[in-house]
Symmetry: C2
Subunit: 339 residues, 2 copies
């Protein structure tokens, strides 16, 4: 999360009101704790009049009740609300003035997690049973719908006088997000995913919401279209980098946010960026990896270790680290998807 931290560090220079951002300096953990504290009261208010079963699911999903252990921090890292606040501060506005934007992006994030877990039949989320696994698919679908609609309602009702451009921003983001999600689903039945296809998917599935978070922070602060567009671009690149970092953790990480074992992405033959890059490599490592990935039987622990080594030899790790780094590759397709 060095990109976020450097954004936070840059904020005072960009005209932040003195004293306002005391909590926003320092490292990533402090920044996220600050953003979470700032958004949570409004987020709770935004869902308090949902029907009781949906309120219960939101509270469970976000870790607001009945949680001990790693999930107890409450609903993830608040990365997207942090981006909304920092964008507002970057254009000289107090973060308190853009709270509806922070609430809206976090509601959309939760919508996408609830539906993604149904769509991917993923049984775990934040170290606990996913909402659908605990409350059933119908309840998870309906709660996701309710959060999406509430995000729209928050911007339509609470983001005056910027409701119209803000809901337009939300609308375009949701189209990109769903297109990315759809591409991700399609990858499951595709033998080979090209690196540029993967980056296009990541620009939608992960980049669009972060781009929207940055754009909303600027827009609701009354920034010019040019500055809003610049921050939107930044958010999209950050989202792609974020996805690449997640892909690296999925293969070489020692712990995983969702609690899966290390190497799970390889065992599941997940087509993440390191794998896409390695399979596109015409050399011997790429060809040997393709042989392993094209077999129909499950991969043994030895196969997983071999495949992990081959992905690295074929350049998958290095290329992904480059995408995840602070300087986006000049020739990357990400540059074309940064709306």
């Amino acid at each position: 999360m060095s990109a976020l931290s450097s954004m936070a560090a840059a904020v005072p220079a960009a005209g932040e009101a003195p004293g306002r951002g005391a909590g926003a300096g320092g490292d990533g953990a402090e920044l996220f704790a600050w953003a979470r504290e700032l958004v949570t009261p409004a987020l709770r208010r935004a869902v308090e009049d949902l029907p009781a079963p949906q309120r219960e699911i939101v509270g469970y999903h976000r870790g607001w009740h009945g949680v001990a252990g790693p999930a107890a921090r409450g609903g993830g890292k608040a990365v997207r609300p942090a981006l909304v606040f920092l964008s507002a501060m970057a254009v000289g506005a107090p973060p308190e003035s853009v709270i509806p934007g922070a609430v809206a992006v976090e509601l959309v994030h939760d919508f996408s997690l609830l539906h993604d877990d149904v769509i991917d039949a993923d049984p775990l989320r934040r170290h606990r049973p996913a909402a659908w696994a605990r409350y059933g698919t119908p309840a998870a679908v309906l709660t996701g719908d309710a959060l999406l609609v509430r995000a729209l309602a928050v911007l339509a009702a609470d983001a005056r006088p910027y409701s119209a451009p803000a809901t337009g921003e939300l609308s375009r983001m949701l189209e990109d997000l769903l297109r990315g999600q759809s591409q991700d689903v399609a990858f499951e039945s595709t033998a080979r995913v090209r690196p540029e296809e993967y980056l296009e998917m990541a620009a939608g599935k992960t980049g669009a919401l972060m781009a929207c978070a940055c754009a909303l922070g600027a827009l609701l602060a009354g920034a010019s279209e040019a500055r809003t567009a610049g921050l939107r671009d930044f958010g999209c690149h950050l989202g792609i980098a974020f996805q690449c970092a997640d892909d690296l953790l999925g293969i070489w990480g020692t712990t995983r946010r969702s609690g899966e074992p290390v190497g799970a992405d390889v065992a599941a033959r997940k087509k993440s960026l390191p794998v896409a890059v390695a399979l596109a490599d015409p050399g011997p490592a790429g060809r040997r990896l393709a042989g392993l990935y094209d077999r129909t039987e499950p991969l043994s622990a030895t196969d997983v270790a071999t495949a992990t080594e081959l992905i690295e030899q074929a350049g998958g790790r290095e290329a992904t680290e480059r995408e995840a780094g602070p300087t986006p590759g000049g020739g990357s397709v990400a540059g074309d998807r940064s709306r």
Copy 2:
């Protein structure tokens, strides 16, 4: 559908441009065919750039391809687009000028059908396997999401200069629609549903979208807030009447749109309005019906016939016919829910 036909008949008197509404007069079937013809090209354009799997599901769901028999008319009756067009005409505008509104409400209607069938695990829709039964739950959920988001995008992008009030109208409607859907789900695990609770649910689940259709038709035609509000109220009452008519068909109808056998609602102990009214009756018919409904074993064909008779004796049919009729009951709770 006498209320719709009389609305259509009233249109010329309300200042409709001569020659415009030739297709809108006559009986309900002609009216719906006219509305369907007017909305379909724009509706097809609105979904043509969805990802291929979702386009396929929309085409299947709407009966645009591979369909013979009763479903071949293509995606239901276009009741909601008809309301958008007629509302515009009622305030003196050509129906062609409000096409984005008609597209948006029909997209929301399809979203709600796709997700409702998942939520209710309903295997049939329009005489054929429901989308989830044919393409799987993940694809049906994702396609529903895409249609909801596209509805918002159509209003945000194509409904200028009325984008802001139109997306606000959409947002409030979606909140009511989802609240109604949530109440309907809750009824499944409730022993007794009071008639006023049922009508509140119907005002959300069926009334909200019809209210929105009427309001959008007026709003996009530039009507005053007062006229828009009047048409919104009309749409909500019509939606409740529509739901009541459907409930009557579910018990006493000779054919059903979805192809279930007559009496299916009683066999399934569905808590529709006639049943809610009858179970609230303190007389002998109500008490005998309660005895049948509270048994845990399935109802035999004789039980279903007896229950049907008891529902009528306890006043369930008459009260529902009154709600479904052209004059809403003065003391009905529907009067409080007509936003």
